[in-house]
Symmetry: C2
Subunit: 279 residues, 2 copies
Amino acid sequence: MPQYFSEDASVDAVNARMGEDVSPRLRQVMTSLITHLHGFIKDVQLTQEEWAFAVDFLTRTGQICSEQRQEFILLSDTLGVSMLVDAIGNRRPSGATENTVLGPFHVADAPRREMGVSISADGKGETCLFEGRVLDAAGNLIEGACLDVWSDNADGFYDVQQPDAQPRWNNRGRFTTGADGAYRFIGIKPVSYPIPYDGPVGKMLAALGRHPYRPAHMHFIVTAPGFQTVVTHTFVGDDPYITSDAVFGVKDTLVAPFERVNDGATAWRSPFDFVLVPS
Amino acid sequence: MPQYFSEDASVDAVNARMGEDVSPRLRQVMTSLITHLHGFIKDVQLTQEEWAFAVDFLTRTGQICSEQRQEFILLSDTLGVSMLVDAIGNRRPSGATENTVLGPFHVADAPRREMGVSISADGKGETCLFEGRVLDAAGNLIEGACLDVWSDNADGFYDVQQPDAQPRWNNRGRFTTGADGAYRFIGIKPVSYPIPYDGPVGKMLAALGRHPYRPAHMHFIVTAPGFQTVVTHTFVGDDPYITSDAVFGVKDTLVAPFERVNDGATAWRSPFDFVLVPS
């Protein structure tokens, strides 16, 4: 008698159907996916009505996606999936600067700027000096490291979210270290903001009793020849959402000092060193 | 120090974020979903590139959905999820007729017809007499049972897939049993056909070395007052795809006899009794 599908043998029934020429990696990924997907359904004894809701939820999530919006990435972010994949792919020794999520608002090829200048072009917000060094694990200064930085403006929006209301490249820039390994630029003290919550993911967060806010942060991508690229943020530690980031991006080591300054140049100063490991 | 997200504690980090007023069932479902989703990612050590492929795959799956097409249901079907949810929701004692998937081609309110008539209106295919009885588990005949039946035509398409090429209600009808509990109608011996395979799910099947075909089958929904509704098919046992249904719909007990007939009335005869259990 052939082995047809049954509730008890559901995982084997599906996985045994794979062809012989499937690549080992695809076989591994799909076998585990089916095991966990069926395991979930059996654990909770998923009902027909819940299944139909899930089909509709996924369909709505796909249909709201556009050139300007990626709701499945939001879903991944809010379920901790993005951070988990990033953690698995970027394990580093203690002391090395940790990664966090890239986020959807990075724009390639931001203007290259001189050390010390301001990246804020709209005149809004509290000015903040960001400065520090790029080092290797032994404490050696790294010359020629590139820091690609970006943040929201004082209203909580990135320039690309408000192409008509913000100057182009507002709060963005790229800086390259010299022989002293140091970086230094003036931005604003970032502010917290919600991820887009008018779609299926926002409804999900509301149903789960969760808010859509991210704690205030400055984005950095730090690259240097011979070293692993660091994709990260520095966070404002006293932000009300610091322990409840909607996308789980905060790590202890990424909470940076934001200190009041009385030198008349900027209102705040945020020192932070980046420690890179060899690639 | 607050408990931020970490690779090791990823499941707890996400699940601890749920609010206190979340319904117990939603809490149960989401807790299990996160456990299995993160478990899958950790098991296979999912890479950034694979994650990006998954986001794109889900997006394409959502974007091909329309009034006429539900690609997420196809995905559920081809991963054995639809059959598993149906199995969990419709466990029945041995001897009772089993369920299988509804499929996307049912149309409500098919014409009510007299016992013995033909449901085939396009003159194509090999004629087949479908007949049998509707019984309870003790063998008592059930009067007033309704059998809602449908199949593809000899070209492998349902009428709703070819509204211009097939007569309306071709190979569909509803029959109600009398005091003898018997049903009897003439259709065609169904033929195998592929599920839609020009979208993301078809590409997935190809990558997994799987074909998109379903073995030939006649659909039935059998309802009777006081009894559980049976949503099922009867299958043609010698179909080349009988052990490899793309949607895992075949069960041993649903493989029906299809016998050659030499009475000049029909080319085939398929006897099958339905056994219902109380609702």
